[in-house]
């Protein structure tokens, strides 16, 4: 049996959980095992239909009021108990903050290593894994051979497919959670008051790096004139104190997937590029024709961004595109 940890909200299973289910189903098929899932919270049973549609036979709905609010260690404990009770050869989770945190607790309790950021599994005597290092800059082939193989699936790397199967059978699971497991529990959720289009949702992202020399005014003006556009930056610009870290795109910043990405005065370091690999198109503006970003872009303008950006804004206005 292969057990998959899934997360959901009012709209159903979340994307990364569906990706995890797709990879888990592949593992289950290779191992000739059944696919089962575990979900927490009061609405767990409601996702049985969708889970079944992605190949899940049995959904273990954790039944414990104390666990309705997220509690990482207790969730880890419950996953371990469920895995032991149903006898599983693998536990697979989504590569989200909660997925990784829950399985890391579970792995530690089981005294096995968890493999994170996995994109592919070949099942044999051990699991031959493909996983991401350096935020996707490098690929690692490795071998996982624990008594129970625990792994998380890298976010947005697996394309989801459904089976059209019937709803999963729901089985209530009552874990035996200890007092200490609830030491850390979600206390509150705060809404942020960010204005404008969030980076992750923008159709156009214009960003500036060290090449701006600290002057982002032209890039800001350009973004204001394009609908659904957001401003981003490289880490160099954040380190200089020119932009807040929220604007940073890359391995340790935001991941974006716009229709077009327009990096200005950014050299194209690998840690920056993994943040924008979801972009459909890249148009680079840089004074250096040898900059790595030119190799990685679809179009390039070799010129000073401080002159090109205002010219683009003027041209948009001349053609009646200004907001």
């Amino acid at each position: 049996m292969v057990l998959t940890l899934v997360e959901y909200d009012e709209e159903g299973l979340d994307d990364v959980s569906l990706q995890a289910l797709t990879l888990a189903r592949d593992v289950a098929e290779q191992a000739d095992e059944s696919l089962e899932a575990i979900a927490f919270g009061a609405g767990a049973a409601d996702v049985a239909g969708e889970a079944g549609n992605h190949g899940v036979e049995t959904l273990h709905a954790v039944e414990d009021d104390a666990l309705d609010d997220y509690a990482p260690e207790a969730y880890g404990r419950a996953v371990v108990q469920c895995a032991e009770e149903v006898g599983t050869e693998a536990v697979i989770g989504p590569g989200t903050d909660r997925g990784a945190e829950t399985l890391a607790h579970a792995a530690s309790k089981l005294d096995v290593t968890m493999a994170a950021e996995v994109t592919d599994v070949e099942v044999g005597d051990s699991y031959e894994l493909t996983r991401q290092r350096w935020g996707g800059t490098l690929i690692e082939h490795s071998r996982l051979s624990a008594e129970t193989n625990l792994l998380t699936v890298a976010a947005n790397e697996v394309s989801v497919s459904a089976t059209g199967g019937d709803a999963a059978a729901v089985e209530a699971f009552a874990p035996d959670v200890q007092e200490g497991d609830l030491r850390v529990q979600l206390t509150a959720v705060e809404e942020s008051d960010v204005e404008g289009v969030p980076l992750g949702e923008a159709r156009v992202v214009v960003s500036g790096g060290r090449g701006t020399d600290g002057d982002f005014s032209e890039l800001e003006a350009l973004v204001e004139n394009v609908p659904n556009a957001a401003l981003g930056s490289s880490r160099a610009a954040v380190n200089e104190g020119w932009r807040p870290h929220d604007d940073q795109i890359g391995q340790t910043g935001a991941k974006i997937a716009p229709e077009i990405y327009i990096p200005c005065g950014i050299s194209g370091a690998v840690q920056h590029m993994v943040g924008c690999k979801g972009a459909e198109n890249i148009l680079a503006i840089n004074t250096d024709p040898e900059a790595a970003i030119i190799q990685k872009a679809d179009w390039a303008v070799i010129a000073d961004l401080h002159e090109v950006a205002p010219a683009i804004a003027d041209e948009l206005e001349a053609r009646g595109h200004s907001e």
Binding site: Y70, P72, E73, A100, A104, H105, S108, V112, T113, M114, A116, E117, Q132, R133, W134, G135, T137, L138, E140, H141, S142, L144, N149, T152, R183, V184, L186, V189, E190, E191, S192, P198, G200, P227, A229, R235, D246, Q248, Q251, T252, I260, V270, E280, N281, L283, A284, A292, Q295, K296, D298, W299, A300, V301, I302, A303, V308, A311, I312, E315, L316
Partner: protein
Amino acid sequence: MEILTAIKRVPETGAKVSLTDDKLDIDTTSLGFTFSPHEECAVEEGVQLVEEHGGNVTVLTLGEEDATEQLRSAIAMGADDGMLLDGGDDEWGPAATATAVAEAVEASDTDFDLLLFGNESADAANHQVGVRVAEELGLPCVTGIKDLDVGEGVATAKREIPGGSEVYEVDLPAVVTVKEGLNEPRYPSMRAKMQARKASVEQTEPEPREDDLELVELEVPETDDSPAEIIGESPEAAEEVVDVLEELEVV
């Protein structure tokens, strides 16, 4: 307050990554070394907390002897003591690393109030060393933190989610794993760097335990490196740029 921060030495790659012939490592012949931006924030947070509450920041790394260079960078940022767990040239897996770190914490004369880790290491991104150390030491743990507020025996920690943040309260001592954006790490002064060179670093040699995850081979992902179409070399290219935007129907 007694604070421990854990950092990992990694190569500072630029626009292109090359591998060694056996494909087990990054070819670092012409590269410098650093530690993760997340861990930089962990060190900065420790230093700021000690500036506010008094106490000491100990910075620890497990790795080859050259990793003392990263300990000294952290000391230049304001950490007080360095601790090298000499693990030799080979990378240790996350279970082995965590056990060695937990044992070093237990063996230490210091009772740490706060143990700060990166949310994930820059290279391996195993997402677990901090959690495992917490489990081994029986401490509570919060991960992925971008906002930390430490009060009397308790910390309030926030983790970013789309459109807001989750709030966790945790009693000290605790393990907190952090992400870049938590604070703005300082640039050490020349003088601090010089002094850090002289700081003493405690060194031990832990025994590795087995890890279930074994590296077979690394691979550089294929990227489309066909050069871009140069659509202009002056501000007049704005016309071509807007043509592209119109074609993509984003304006």
